[in-house]
Every structure is written in C-alpha cells, then in structure tokens.
C-alpha cells in the first residue's frame, strides 16, 4: 500500500510539473505582457522599470526557474489584471465552480445510473431504446448549444429561470443540466453495458435460483459488481466536467474558475491562467486518486502492493 501511494505521489508530482511547464511555455509564446499593462505612450524608463519589477528582463530559463520555485510555494505571481496574487484570485472562484460541478455531477449520477440499470434489465424494451436514444443525444449535443437551447426555452420563450448569474437555487438549474448532460449520457451508457455483462454471469443465476428477490439480485448482486467500470468513468468524466465548465460558465455568466480562465487568457493575464490550470489539474488528479482508492473498497480482491 505504501509503495503504491509513493509511486502515485511521484507520478502526480511529475504530471503537475509537466502541466505547469506546458502552461509556462504556451503563455510565454504569446509575447510581451507589458503592452497590455502600460498605455502605449508610456515612457521607456517606465517600461523598463515594470519589466524589471516583474522579472521579465531575465533570460527565459531564469524566469522558468523562478516560476517553478514560486509555484512550489503556491505563489503564481501577481495578477496583471486584478493586481492581486494570482492564486488568491483563482481560489476565490473555486467555490462557485465546485458548487456547479457537484450539482452537475450529482444530477448526472442520479439520472444516469437508474436509466442504465433499467435499460440493461429490460434490454430491447421501449425504455431501453428511449433511454439510449436520450443518451446518444446527450453525448452528441455540444455543451454550448445545449446551454443556448435551454436559455431559449426556459428564459426567453417560457421565462421561468434566470438568464445568468448566481444567487438562488434557480440560478443553478440550467448551468447544472448543461454541464451534466455529457457525463450523464456516458454514465448511463456505461452502466447499461456493465450491467449487461454482469447479469449474464453464473452467480446471478445462482442468486435467482436460491430465491432472492429480483431487486436484491439486480442491485445487490448485479449493480454492486458493475460498479468498477462505472466509477472509473465517473472519475474520467470529472475531467471533462472541468473543461465543460469553461463553456458553461461563459454562457451563464457563472463566476467560477472556468470563466476566469477564459477571461484571463483573453487578457493575457498569465499568472492567473497558470493558477487556474494548475488548480484544475490538481482537482482532476485528486479525484482520480480517490477513484483508485475506491476500487479496493468496491472489490476486496484488489490490493495495492
């Protein structure tokens, strides 16, 4: 167990280092941020002073080392746009995104798992076909278009829900559905196929033969054993969710980290971009780590040596 944890930890550090490096390179490729900070007619002396202050007069590799040293301490520099520490700016937006992501994810799981189970148990029935058609639809509609359709339907044609922003639970509905749709579709499809596989096993027949209630057979013996692939896809979907948050938050003016990331990219506010991407990656790695640990709970045969 300890060896496994150690290996995972090393890998995580390598991954986070890789991500930080990619972001550093990409953002530096875009040229001098000075032109964005100072007015075009700023005196040359002023340009040099700010450049020195921000360390932009050093060679690139020095900037990189300084960046790494500070990143380890969680210091991603000052936001160019907000004039505050970049990490603080990013952290401030985290609760809104977590709220949205958790709502979307909960919605996806609560809707998708029953649909997948019913579709598998009543294979080729009307419910199966309907459920899988909806899943295909959910998997195919681009996030931004789903957002627009919901806006049109529930904010313009039938003004039931607020058009954007946050505050009440009603504000959360459309963004959560928009963000959760893709994960919902994937989880439903995978639950169905995992269940189909499990339900054809001998021990299911045995369970039925010894006279267990059908619901116990399906949930206790069937679903319990179908959980591993389902939980895996949930972990991976969480990454997609973070990416989707960028689009969803932009459409619904949700003050989360995705919208901040987009705005910072357009503002070329490197420090904030670096901080947001870093936080997103940490979240993704952490979730999948938890998923890995969860395997051992789901299947006692799995041991981490």
């Amino acid at each position: 167990m300890r060896a496994f944890l150690l290996r995972r930890l090393i890998r995580t550090v390598v991954v986070l280092w890789g991500i930080s490096t990619i972001v550093f390179v990409v953002m530096r490729l875009s040229g001098d941020p000075i032109v964005l900070i100072l007015p075009p007619d700023a005196p040359t002396a002023e340009v040099f002073r700010v450049r020195r202050e921000m360390g932009l007069d050093e060679p690139l590799w020095v900037q990189y080392l300084v960046f790494l040293r500070n990143a380890i301490r969680g210091d991603f520099g000052q936001s160019i746009h907000f004039r505050q520490p970049a990490m603080a700016v990013a952290l401030e937006r985290i609760p809104a995104t977590i709220q949205l992501a958790v709502a979307a994810f909960a919605l996806a799981v609560v809707m998708a798992v029953p649909v997948g189970i019913v579709a598998a148990v009543r294979r080729f029935s009307l419910w199966d076909h309907l459920g899988m058609f909806l899943a295909l639809l959910g998997q195919s509609v681009p996030t931004f278009f789903l957002g627009i359709l919901l806006l049109l339907l529930f904010a313009v044609w039938f003004p039931l829900l607020p058009i954007g922003g946050t505050g009440t639970p009603a504000h959360l509905i459309m963004p959560a559905v928009t963000l959760g749709a893709f994960a919902m579709a994937s989880i439903a499809r995978l639950t169905r196929s995992a269940m189909l596989e499990v339900l054809s096993q001998d021990y299911i027949r045995t369970a039925r033969a010894k006279g267990l209630k059908e619901i116990t057979v399906i949930l206790g013996h069937g679903f319990r054993n179908a959980l591993i692939p389902v939980v895996t896809i949930m972990g991976l979907q969480f990454g997609t969710l973070l990416g989707g948050a960028v689009v969803t938050e932009t459409i619904f003016a949700w003050p989360g980290i995705g919208r901040l990331a987009i705005q910072s990219i357009f503002n070329r506010d490197y420090p904030v971009v670096q901080a947001t991407v870093f936080l997103a990656a940490v979240a993704f790695v952490a979730v999948n780590f938890v998923v890995d640990l969860f395997y051992a709970v789901l299947d006692p045969r799995i041991r981490y040596e």
Binding site: R11, V14, V15, L16, G18, I19, I22, V23, V26, M27, L29, S30, L136, L137, Q139, S140, V141, P142, T143, F144, F145, I148, L149, L151, L152, V156, I163, L190, S193, P229, I233, G239, L242, G243, G244, V246, V247, T250, I251, G258, A261, I262, I265, F266, V273, T276, V277, A280, A281, F284, V285
Partner: protein, 298 residues
Amino acid sequence: MWTRPATSAELVLPRRPARRRLARIPIPVAFFIGFLLILVLSAVFADYLAPADPYRQSLRGRLDAPTWLGGTTGALLGTDQLGRDILSRILFGSRVSLLVGFTAVIIGGLLGSLLGLVAGYAGRVADEVIMTIADTQLAFPLVLLAIAVVAVLGPSLQNLILVVGISGWVTYARIARAQVLSLKQKEFIEAVRALGGSDLRILFRHLLPNTLSPLIVVATLDLARTIVLESTLSFLGLGVQPPTPSWGQMIGEGREYLIIGRWWVSVFPGIVLMLTTMAVNRIGDWVRDVLDPTLRNV
C-alpha cells in the same frame, strides 16, 4: 470415458466475416450514413447548392425570420444580424467543420498510433516517458489548453486543425500500446524475429495491421470529438475568422439575438451540428460493434 479433446478448429464458432456483417446495416445507422453523405456532398457542391451568396449582406434584411414564419426576404431559414442567408452559410460552414474534423482525426490518429506503437514496443524507458506525457495531457482540461494555444498562436485554420488534432492523440496511443503489449509475446512475432525480421518490419508489417481495427473504431468516435471541439472554439471566437462561416461561430454570433426572439440565427446551425455529431457517434458505435465489440468503454 476418455474423449478426444476438441481441436481448435472444432471450437471455432461459425463467425460471419466482417464484410458480411457490414451488409446488415441497422436502419438508424443507414439514415445517419445518408445524412453524412448529403452533408459531405453539400459541402463540396456548396457553390451550386446555396440559394444565395453566403457573404452578401443586406442592411434592410437583417435578422429576418424564415419564410415559413413570415419572413419577407425569402430566406428559407432566415437571415443573420448582417442580413446574410443562413441556409447558405450553413452549407458553406460545413466545409470548415468537416475539414477540421477529418484532418484533425488524421493528425491525432497518426501521432497517437505511432507513439503508442513505440511505447508498447521500444521498452521500459520510452514507455514510461510517453505514458507520463499521456497522463499529463489527460489531467489537463483540454478545452482550456486548446483555447490557450489558439489564443496565443492566433486563430487560423491551420492552428485550429493542429490544436484539435494533437489534443486527441492519447486515446490512440493507449489503444495501440495495449494491443502491442499483448501481441508482441505471440508466436507469430517470435517467428518473424527468428526469421531475421527487423524491428521496423515487425512494427509496421505485423503489429500495426493487427492494431488497425480498434484504431479505426477510436478514430470514428474521435471524429465527433474533433467536430465538437472545433465548433466550441469557433463559438468562443477562436476558430476560423469572419466572414468565413463556421457553425460554431454562427451559433456564437446568434447568441446575442436570442433574448430579442431571433432564435433562428443560432438554432439552425446548432441543429445541423447536433445531427452531425449524432450521426458520427451512432455510426461509430456501430463500427465498433462490427469490428471490435471488446472496445466498449472507449
């Protein structure tokens, strides 16, 4: 009583060859194949099919409703904020979606398959390095990376294709690697090596052909992803630049006019986009069922 063990020939279930199974196309799949064919043809022949010039603006005919909803300019699907014919722009916009979608799949597929083959074949160090890079990319919110790269390099068709293509290599690499790992222990590879076949020969003449069918499955399903990613970037204003039409960009531009009830600007290109990704997904599912049913989780 002793019975003769069944020989392998007897154990093989009668299995219809892939070509025969392809002949039975389910009706929804046939419908979607038809839809994609029409789409490709209309992209190629947009010049002849479009009812109007997709670039011609008309200040008088701005945001005009579709004819069947009382529009006065005679545009079947209405006009956009500059008075341009939406149907014509959808037809021309399909060129961008299909071009970026297909070329990106080819780029990602080639890159990923190659790296996967190497990772699976070339030994521990190459494997570690390549798979760590893959993990890094998986931990990265891809949309964000794509946005950052395009925002930095500047939005253009080439950058779009490159970013969307490269972003997809990991799945191909994982599949190719897994196939190679299981195949390279097999006897026929041993035999080739014993006969003096070089590594390159083993890789490209013997391993690659045997990994091809799962890779084709991945590529088909990946096409939906590339088309969606292209339209997402275009929606955010990072795709092909105006006035060249693309679906994502049309949907994005129409967003402002939803509130005042001019929904057709966004909704019609969106419906075509959605049908396209649905078609690709459904066809991809079917290709997978025919070629390689074990790949259920891709």
